[in-house]
């Protein structure tokens, strides 16, 4: 059974509907603080499966309260990926769960009880609400207040010591109170009928399962752990440090002697150190850690007399590094031009320079380094880069982990070598259409033979969501997938032309039509115009959560007239084939990165596309490769 008086509140924030839910959950957290419960809030990006499961393992709270999107079998977190589902919820064994989500009482709720959960509260319907301002604190929102106060009453009742059954009755009483408000003092509001409808629906959809007499609190005295020596934020590999504190009774402040305090690393089950407090309630230990990133905390798990307590989590970086580019590459360069990029390597947090460290230069799609150097006495590194062929290349610089330090790498930088031509639509269209619920693009004629290095499309990325997106190219004649670009992530909202680069160029033929398409997670939109019959290719059949980023091969389009008319703002960038030059493509399977030589010189690693002049060439690969 989970530890009494400990409460995990799961609080996603990512989507526009979660913002109001998040603000509603703050009222539950506040009540937990008022009642001196041990509260753990996992907010925003921490409201995801891994942090939730790790927290449940580490702190073992008896009560889990969560809100967020769901369906019969799934409850999801910040990125709308599952935290619990009907076939994976054993972590909730021995706990009490309340989910403000849709439909979970139909599958996930019973599954939690079957997995050993003590009790469950949640909804058999899609919990709905109306709101004046979807981003406001619901308690300040004319319409949303009643909905959130009624739902919150369930966890608040538990926090105040009520049983599951009492919590349900209290919640229903608040729903009824608000229905009454809308039928009396607010009956003249034109939207009162809407408010009443959804309050009734939510009230009648509330379900409890399991032990209806279960509670989340017990009668022990509250305790606290005061930290007197915090762990430092940065340490060298296996450098020793101290972590000290005092265990006290919360209300009187009296020290608690002879109690067991454990030093834990978050995400690990077993204690790093187990200590017993002295006559002054003090505990103290010396620790050294191998290189890595740690989140340390101390916990007193409680006993017959006293409630459990734990400290804040302290982030400790041991031997972590940061590689910085001071002179980044230009966005474009000429063939055979030499450019220089520079930067330095330093310890993270302290900023101390790291000399004599090996630094590698990589190109996307090639896992072998295309350059290697060593940092000087000031930690500075430098690479000279030249390309003999036109194209667009993505490069990054990396320091690999060594005995003392962890590795780090820079962002990727795209370089256009020579002038790239384009085919497709490079003007902005007017109609915005989702790219998350629908994969879509248009077909375009390739004007000449060449190699496609990138796709550029006009997109709107919502600031409410953080997401991922990518593009792909298909041959129009058989809708065969030819290549997928790199995947991009966005953190903030933007609208404009966005470039996606292929890790290896895609050959195209003159006079052949190609389909250029884009796809992304929630919040990603494209632009198109109507009036171009049969030029648009779109499909609703692909579930973004299930299928992305597995682009369909072949592409199966929806053929309803509305889905086929249109021209999307998307184009491909390519380098034309030169008369007398020919494409050499060498693939390997199952292993990649096999060195390929032409006329005795290594020219790259599989998969590789190279241009060769008319004439005789000797192409060779090793008879055997070791991986």
């Amino acid at each position: 059974m989970g530890i009494f008086n400990e409460f995990l509140n799961i609080m996603p924030y990512n989507c526009r509907y979660c913002v109001q839910g998040f603000k509603g959950m703050l009222h539950i957290s506040q009540e937990a603080r008022n009642q001196k419960l041990e509260l753990i809030e996992l907010q925003n990006v921490n409201a995801e499966k891994e942090p939730v499961w790790n927290t449940l393992t580490a702190f073992d709270p008896i009560f889990v309260n969560g809100f967020g999107h769901g369906n019969n079998d799934v409850y999801t977190g910040d990125s709308e990926t599952p935290i619990f589902n009907s076939w994976e919820c054993d972590i909730l064994s021995g706990r009490i769960v309340y989910l403000l989500s849709c439909l979970t009482a139909n599958g996930l709720g019973p599954a939690i009880i079957n997995a050993g959960g003590i009790a469950y509260g949640g909804f058999k319907i899609s919990w709905g609400w109306v709101s004046k301002d979807i981003t406001a604190d619901p308690y300040d929102d004319w319409y949303a207040e009643g909905f959130f106060r009624a739902s919150n009453e369930f966890p608040i009742a538990l926090i105040q010591g009520a049983t599951i059954n009492e919590a349900k009755q209290r919640s229903i009483a608040v729903y009824n109170q608000w229905i009454d408000i809308w039928e009396t003092e607010r009956a003249d509001d034109p939207d009162s009928a809407s408010a009443i409808k959804w309050l009734i629906s939510d009230r009648d959809g509330l379900v409890i399962l399991g032990d209806v007499n279960a509670v989340i609190t017990d009668v022990g005295l509250a305790t606290s752990l005061e930290i007197t020596v915090k762990p430092p934020s940065y340490l060298r590999h296996e450098q020793a440090f101290r972590f000290e504190g005092i265990l006290k009774e919360s209300i009187t402040g009296n020290p608690l002697a002879g109690r067991t305090v454990q030093i834990m690393i978050f995400e690990r089950n077993t204690p790093l150190v187990t200590l017993v407090t002295n006559s002054n309630g003090q505990w103290s230990c010396g620790i050294s850690l191998p290189k890595g990133f740690y989140r340390l905390y101390a916990i007193f798990k409680g006993d017959e007399q006293y409630r459990s307590t734990f400290t804040d989590i302290y982030k400790v970086y041991v031997g972590t590094t940061q590689i910085v580019i001071t002179t980044p590459p230009p966005e474009s360069m000429e063939q055979n031009e030499v450019i220089t990029i520079t930067g330095f390597l330093r310890e993270e947090i302290t900023g101390i320079a790291l000399p004599n460290k090996v630094i590698n230069l990589y190109q996307a799609g090639v896992t072998y380094p295309i350059g290697t150097t060593t940092t000087d006495a000031s930690g500075v590194w430098e690479f000279n880069i030249t390309y003999s062929e036109k194209g667009r290349f993505s490069i990054y610089v990396k320091f690999h982990e060594d005995i003392e330090y962890l590795g780090s790498q820079t962002l990727s930088y795209e370089i256009a070598v020579g002038t790239l031509l384009s085919f497709g639509r490079s003007t902005k269209a007017n109609i915005m259409v989702t790219a998350s619920q629908m994969i879509s693009g248009s077909i375009f004629l390739a004007p000449e033979k060449g190699l496609v290095y990138s796709i550029v499309c006009y997109q709107q990325l919502s600031s409410i969501y953080r997401g991922k997106h990518a593009c792909a190219i298909y041959r129009a004649s058989d809708l065969k997938l030819l290549g997928i670009t790199d995947e991009r992530k966005w953190e903030t909202g933007t609208t404009g032309w966005i470039m996606f680069v292929f890790s290896r160029p895609i050959p195209i033929e003159a006079g052949e039509e190609y389909l250029l398409i884009a796809w992304g997670t929630l919040g990603c939109s494209l632009y198109f115009d109507r009036g171009y019959p049969n030029r648009r290719y779109a499909a609703y059949n692909y579930d973004i959560k299930r299928d992305y980023p597995n682009f369909p091969d072949p592409f199966i389009r929806d053929t309803e007239p509305g889905m086929t008319d249109g021209l999307v703002s998307i184009y491909a960038e390519y380098v034309p084939a030169v008369e007398g030059q020919h494409q050499l493509i060498v693939m390997s399977s199952p292993e990649l990165n096999v060195p390929v030589s032409t006329n005795g010189n290594i020219v790259g690693y599989t998969p590789i596309t190279k241009l060769l002049a008319t004439g005789e060439h000797v192409i060779s690969v090793p008879e055997e490769v070791t991986t």
Binding site: C15, Y17, Q20, G21, F67, G68, H69, G70, N71, V74, T76, E80, L100, S101, C102, L103, I125, S126, W127, G128, W129, V130, S131, I134, Y143, I179, D180, W182, E183, T184, E185, A187, D188, D189, P190, D191, S192, A193, S194, A195, I196, K197, W198, I200, S201, D204, K545
Partner: protein, 117 residues
């Protein structure tokens, strides 16, 4: 304690179907005999057509609000979306029909109270 009354505008929303004709509370109040029959009926059969018409009429009057839901696939349903789902009897549509039926039952109860029955 103030008395319950029908939410604003609901007087003009159909609440019952008799022989294929929809009647609003306003209509019923003009025909006391019919009103007594409706409120005194043990069982009232409610058609999906009536429920959809109620939402459509409320929407026409600008009183059907967008509903937000913690639903993975359809987190926001405008009045038009709601009517679309109800007409096609999708899974969502069935939920919406059920919610509308409960509101109708609630309004009948208020009507009964205000009629002194």
């Amino acid at each position: 304690m103030s008395k319950r009354k029908l939410p604003k505008g609901e007087e003009t929303i159909p609440i019952v179907e008799i022989e294929g004709r929809f009647h609003t509370p306003q209509d019923l109040r003009k025909q006391p005999y019919l009103l007594r029959q409706v409120l005194g009926a043990r069982v009232l059969t409610v058609s999906e057509k009536l429920l959809i018409e109620r939402v459509r009429e409320r929407s026409r009057q600008g009183r059907e609000r967008t509903v937000y839901r913690f639903d993975r696939e359809n987190p926001e349903l405008s009045p038009e979306d709601q009517i679309w789902h109800m007409e096609r009897r999708t899974t969502i549509g069935k939920e919406l029909l059920e919610a509308e039926q409960k509101l109708l039952e609630e309004e009948l109860a208020i009507l009964k109270e205000t009629a002194g029955m």
